[in-house]
Assembly symmetry: C2
Homo-oligomer: 116 residues x 2
DNA sequence: ATTGTATGTCGTATATTTACGTCATAATTC
DNA sequence: GAATTATGACGTAAATATACGACATACAAT
């Protein structure tokens, strides 16, 4: 009965949390940065660049793919992953709006104090 | 021996992942939004607004406080939480830079295809 | 002093994540 | 066709996260 209170929150909150969870591991952040830096979409080379086993990297790739943040295409024997830049731009907007709302006011006092 | 490969990644990647993890739960997203919307920093009222037990909410608050994203100050019997807007602005920059880098190119083809 | 209220800490059960080794599959190569 | 290679799927052990009830503390009010 535990761990399923997710449904009680806003769709927007759930969406943001879902994407945040995808970025909540340095390996997945690294994967996205790698795909962004390489001009060609690499495949298992990703695993070689990370300090993790191939199996584990594959698992992280599946997680990113499940959110459609990256896409994979079979090219003969290898698989070619690339960023879904359209979705990333959309997600960027969401985070931007969230942070703008959150960091707008001056809720806390200057040194450490609350303004209550 | 599992689950501690974090050290093998960039400081930036770890930092981003750490903050992302803080936002990886809808309750914590909701808490930040709540604190942003209320002019005064509320305390245990947060728990009343969320569909979770007071204990669980307190736990989420501690997690956000551990990252210094929010701060709490004791005011007599109640505790007053507020956003660390300065840090939030800083974090916003980090995410902004990350997404800009990630969503820059057109790695994927138009329909679904990789440009490999 | 005793009672009541607001919070946090602790213990704990369950769910999920992380990490990897081993196997199965599919395509290239010989 | 057999051997090789690149990947993903499956199983699993250990670490974390989630959620909550029960206790502990600290202040306020009677």
């Amino acid at each position: 009965m535990t761990y399923a209170k997710t449904a009680a929150f806003t769709a927007g909150q759930q969406q943001l949390a879902r994407v945040a969870k995808a970025l909540a591991h340095p390996a997945r952040v690294a994967i996205i940065q790698l795909l962004a830096s390489k001009k060609t979409c690499i495949s298992g080379d990703i695993a070689a660049e990370l300090p993790l086993s191939r199996t584990t990297v594959s698992q992280h790739l599946q997680e990113l793919k499940a959110l459609d943040l990256i896409r994979g295409e079979i090219d003969g024997l290898t698989v070619c992953y690339c960023l879904n830049t359209a979705l990333l731009r959309q997600v960027q907007q969401q985070f931007s709006a969230f942070f703008a709302e959150a960091s707008a006011g001056t809720a806390c006092g200057p040194d450490d104090a609350c303004a209550c």
